[in-house]
């Protein structure tokens, strides 16, 4: 099963290497990883997307907790959460195709961030499933390049599911 794990970590050099090293040394797979820092004086935040049965996920959680630089491990998939992926897609868009693409952009709530004679770059930040659907829908137009971030996520205080 797919799990999204949020980590709060010390903002030390080498933290990412410790986490990546743990996964490779123990044979765990990371599907996606995103790292960022909201506040320069604060701890750093990482989001991992991992896949495994209950035992594997339990070990991943425990092993992450055991790392000295890891402050908190939260498996958000056990709770109500929101998660987002960000994607940039460069799609072939000759002037005649632009209208068709614009309709899709409206449906998905995406944005146009660049436009040229031959291509457009589109931006969408949404759930993983919606981002996947967006990419598949654009595929017939001819995708030239995709850049996609790892998932980021946050626990909800409400019990909503969006």
């Amino acid at each position: 099963m797919r799990h999204i794990i949020n980590l709060e970590v010390e903002n030390n050099a080498g933290v990412l290497a410790r986490i990546a090293g743990l996964f490779s040394a123990r044979g765990f797979n990371i599907e996606a990883l995103s790292v960022g820092q909201a506040d320069p004086n604060a701890t750093a935040r990482m989001t991992l997307v991992v896949r495994g049965n209950d035992e594997v996920i339990e070990q991943i959680n425990k092993q992450l907790n055991k790392l000295i630089d890891v402050i908190r491990v939260t498996d958000v998939t056990k709770n109500y959460y929101v998660s987002r992926d960000l994607v940039l897609v460069k799609v072939t868009a000759t002037p005649t195709k632009r209208n068709d693409i614009s309709q899709l952009i409206n449906i998905f709530g995406a944005k146009v961030v660049d436009i040229s004679n031959k291509t457009m770059i589109l931006e969408l930040g949404s759930s993983e499933a919606k981002v996947n659907a967006f990419i598949e829908t654009l595929r017939p137009f001819g995708i030239k390049e995709i850049a996609r971030s790892g998932t980021i996520s946050m626990l909800r205080d409400s019990s909503g599911t969006f």
């Binding site: 050099a13 080498g14 290497a17 410790r18 035992e55 907790n65 055991k66 000295i68 630089d69 402050i71």
Partner: protein
């Protein structure tokens, strides 16, 4: 205070009694500060020797072992020692020099990313990039090494940081917000343990190295007495329960006793105490203790449910958990079960043949008797290690020091040096094979010059015996490169010793001992074993004793790797 002075100051504050290491360009400043210090420093002949000596010091004393090496090759030479300590949860602080901060990443002379290299083989490590961080990092290193599940911590200190000045004091205590080991066991879980014990008919206690780390041997013995359960120990746990006791099952697993393995397989309750269900213990894991409910007490939550499913986990320090448990657990008799255990012990004792030649098991029994089991025994790795584990009958914790997890040949001798420094009044004996002892033989210089009277007993079968044993049993006697007489003239497919075999064996260990200024004895006669050992014990200073033993002697019983532990190959005897 300079960084180098701060390091020495920190070692003093931590009560470090001995340092093991080797100088080099990137640590000259630390050695310069050491010049005026009264902390005894032991100059080993190889950094690996220093790491193992620090490890042996830690195991023999329960204190943190400290080693120092320079950047680059000095640091990489520590790697095997760190990995050894990491696998066996031994508290070590390793201090390495590093090139100047402005040179880091430039492939400078003797530069290596030791923090990167040692990341998976240390509990934690640090590169000090700011002099004002140094006191805090050193304090953290000592705290991390010995708290929770102990382990090695490496601190990499660039040369300019050693020279820089700081006004920051060395902290008296420290708190790491992301590191809070669970010490006290969860009381409701301890009550569940107590209930499970009351409900059991065939309990077995399976005790490991965690009992030693937590100094809980007394609590364990009391616990075993209250519930009247048989006790088996892992290699790392030898000595936590007296193996001379009627309820001792001795060691379990691949080279464990038949009765320990039978008891595990028939138990209805397995009480794991500070052990981690290593593959050498469990054999085929889904057949291990398959009739038993499993209780697992350990300070490290990652060990729980890592290899086996557990019914009642208790995370906490073993000493605390057993102390609480002993207050509430009800006494038991387990009469029928113990009768069965005693029958197994009577019917399937450890044994060896007696054919007039020197049997290694006999040598080990004699060492145990002549020292009244009060010596500290270290071993190398392989047959010498397993025979020692089987035939010595350990009765005290911290008297058997051996590389369990990593299985490091060359560990025993430098570890014996460290142990002797920690416990100068004890007899320290390294039981070695002729392969392993050559892996750190250079430390004879250290032992002789620092007057460290370690005794080395070499069981010389002229072979890499344990690999040879596997080749004999599982590889159709194709003895590829396990004969230590092998030379340039031997055919590649030589499969046994015979008339055409080379007569020359090197080194001559007696002469080697003498070359270093130590004493050497040799015998190949069984009646001379005891007098030779007596001579060894009565000779001051380091002594090497070489016993020539038979190459074909194997370690039995043996569970083939991956088989259930009750399916053992028995010996010929």
């Amino acid at each position: 205070m300079t960084g180098a002075e701060m390091i020495i100051h920190a070692l003093k504050k931590e009560g470090v009694r001995a340092l093991f290491g080797y100088p080099g360009g990137a640590v000259i400043d630390i050695f310069d500060a050491l010049y005026n210090s009264d902390i005894p420093f032991y100059l080993t002949r190889h950094e690996q020797g220093a790491a193992h000596a620090a490890d042996g010091f830690a195991r023999a004393s329960g204190e943190v072992g400290v080693c120092i090496a320079t950047s680059g090759p000095g640091a990489t030479n520590l790697v095997t020692g760190l990995a050894t300590a990491h696998m066996d949860s031994i508290p070590i602080v390793a201090i390495t020099g590093q090139v100047h901060t402005h040179l880091i990443g430039n492939d400078a002379f003797q530069e290596v990313d030791i923090v990167g290299i040692s990341r998976p083989i240390t509990k934690h490590n640090y590169l000090v990039s700011n002099i004002d961080d140094l006191p805090h990092i050193l304090k953290s290193a000592f705290y991390l090494a010995q708290s929770g599940r102990p382990g090695p911590v490496l601190v990499d200190i660039p040369k300019d940081i050693q020279q820089a000045k700081t006004s920051k004091p060395y902290p008296d205590s420290i708190e790491i917000k992301s590191y809070k080991p669970t010490i006290k066991g969860h009381m409701p879980q301890i009550q569940n343990v107590s209930k499970a014990i009351a409900a059991s008919n065939r309990p077995v206690i399976y005790a490991g190295g965690g009992v030693i780390s937590s100094s809980a041997s007394d609590e364990l013995r009391q616990f075993a007495k209250i519930i009247n359960a048989p006790v088996t120990t892992t290699l790392m746990g030898l000595g936590v329960y007296p193996e001379t006791d009627k309820n001792s099952l001795k060691m379990l697993g691949m080279h464990g006793t038949e009765y320990a393995n039978y008891a595990i397989q028939e138990a209805d309750l397995l009480i794991a105490v500070g052990a981690r269900f290593d593959d050498r213990v469990t054999g085929k894991v889904d057949k291990f203790a398959s009739k038993a409910k499993i209780i697992h007490m350990d300070i490290d939550p990652t060990t729980i449910r890592k290899n086996v499913q557990v019914n009642i986990p208790v995370v906490g320090d073993i000493k605390h958990v057993l102390h609480e448990l002993n207050k509430i657990v009800e006494p038991k008799e387990n009469k029928e079960w113990l009768e069965q255990i005693y029958k197994w012990k009577k019917d399937h004792p450890l044994k060896y043949k007696n054919d007039g030649r020197i049997q290694p098991q006999y040598v080990i029994e004699q060492i145990a008797e002549l020292t009244n089991r009060k010596a500290i025994i270290t071993t190398e790795v392989g047959q010498n290690q397993m025979w020692t584990a089987q035939f010595y009958n350990f009765t005290h914790p911290r008297t058997f020091l051996s590389s369990g997890g990593l299985g490091t040949m060359g560990y025993g001798f430098p570890a014996a040096i460290g142990a002797q420094v920690a416990q100068p009044d004890k007899i320290v004996v390294d039981i070695a094979g002729d392969g392993s002892i050559q892996m750190n033989i250079q430390e004879l210089a250290t032992a002789v010059l620092y007057q460290i009277p370690v005794k080395i007993v070499i069981l010389n079968n002229h072979s890499l015996g344990m690999v040879r044993q596997w080749q004999a049993i599982f590889y159709d006697r194709r003895f590829s490169s396990t004969c230590l007489r092998r030379n340039i003239n031997c055919p590649p497919d030589c499969d046994q010793t015979g008339e055409n075999c080379p007569k020359v064996y090197v080194p001559n260990f007696t002469k080697l001992a003498e070359a270093y200024g130590a004493t050497g004895f040799f015998t190949n006669k069984v009646e001379e074993v005891k007098p030779t050992l007596e001579k060894m014990l009565n000779t001051p200073g380091p002594v090497i004793v070489e016993f020539e033993i038979e190459a074909e002697e194997n370690v039995y019983p043996m569970v083939p790797a991956g088989a259930p532990i009750n399916e053992m190959i028995r010996g010929m005897a």
